[in-house]
Amino acid sequence: MSLSWYEASARQRVAALVDAESFEEFVGPEQRAMSPHLPLFDLPRAFDDGIVVGRGRLDGRTVYLAAQEGRFMGGAFGEVHGAKLVGLLRAAVTETPEAVLILFDTGGVRLQEANAGETAIAETMRAIADLRRAGIPVVGLVGGRAGCFGGGGLIAGTCSRLAVSEGGRISVSGPEVIETNKGAEEFDSKDRALVWRTMGGKHRRLAGGADRFCDDTVEAFRAAALDLIGRAPAFDLATLEAEQARLEDRIARFGDCRDATEIWARLGVNDPAGVPALSAADFDGLVAGLEGTTHDAR
């Protein structure tokens, strides 16, 4: 029986992702590294502040992992939560695991600890750049119920590679944030189909924003992680110039599109309206026939 990534907790994802019994947690829940700030807001704390970090093996190879728990405070970056991720990435620079996996499940910055969360996101991005320059792949896995929003979306954009499932939405401003600030005419956050095709895994994969599309199972994410670790792009001027060209080209080609289906049609998808219903296997087949979706410009 396969475990749904979307439904699983952060701990379940980590335990099932790595080789059996191989996960070793750093600063685990028994150390009670909890938020010093949430009690001021009369909010409950979590023993792990909503993130699990540690070391495990993937097909025998040592990897570091961080997994956000999207059900606790929306997986948002608080002071402790962010510091655990930053510490893991800093440790990886000197301990040189074969890769670091970030299991995103976050709404972005935890507003009750906003300045700490925001700064931790900046520290995280710098640490990822350091790791990538040292040749250690940082692979993001996105498929949790909180998605990957706000600063989480920027961290995802800093990773070497990204795997995403149908439910794994990636964006900076979330649907509710856009609707609150700009109105329902700009973005109707209750239109789930619109949310999915604007920010969801299939659109991100088709547009080149993610490198693998996964079924919503731990097995699929494990297979994706193993594949992506082996083909991480360098972090250098050539890569970033290629990314500059790739993103400029995207805006030039699709900048006048109102909806993702128009982009998919221009990419050469014959039946854009049928994309959301495609199985992962059929979707992979579709992607394989399109140019520009698989690249090293990240």
């Binding site: 028994e30 009670r32 009369d42 409950p44 979590a46 023993f47 792990d48 728990e69 059900r71 606790f72």
Partner: protein
């Protein structure tokens, strides 16, 4: 926030050797339970932190019922509550005790 601690004596230790376990998630209507095998074999403590104030007698009854059923001797149990109903609390406590006994 309200915190409380209940101390119980049990007939003996909980079976198994697992040193610690955690189950559940702090979310609306849910809770997490951290269990550590760190106390004398006939002792059990249950610490609770909850944002819902004024239900100490309910917690006390749920904790006593759990201790009577599971006999979780040796365990220090800590709960971070997100506003769970008593039946959810009982379920999570029993899940946690089973994890400590069997590892699954």
């Amino acid at each position: 926030m309200e915190t409380m601690t209940f101390r119980h004596t049990t007939k003996g230790p909980l079976a198994g050797t697992k040193p610690q376990a955690i189950t559940g998630v702090v979310a609306s209507g849910n809770l997490e339970v951290l269990l550590e095998r760190v106390l004398p074999p006939d002792q059990c403590t249950i610490e609770i932190a909850t944002p819902v104030v004024g239900y100490g007698d309910v917690w006390e009854a749920v904790a006593a019922d759990f201790v009577a059923r599971a006999q979780p001797g040796g365990l220090r149990i800590a709960i971070n509550d997100g506003g769970a109903r008593p039946d959810t609390v009982s379920l999570r406590l029993l899940q946690g005790a089973r994890l400590m006994e069997t590892g699954r």
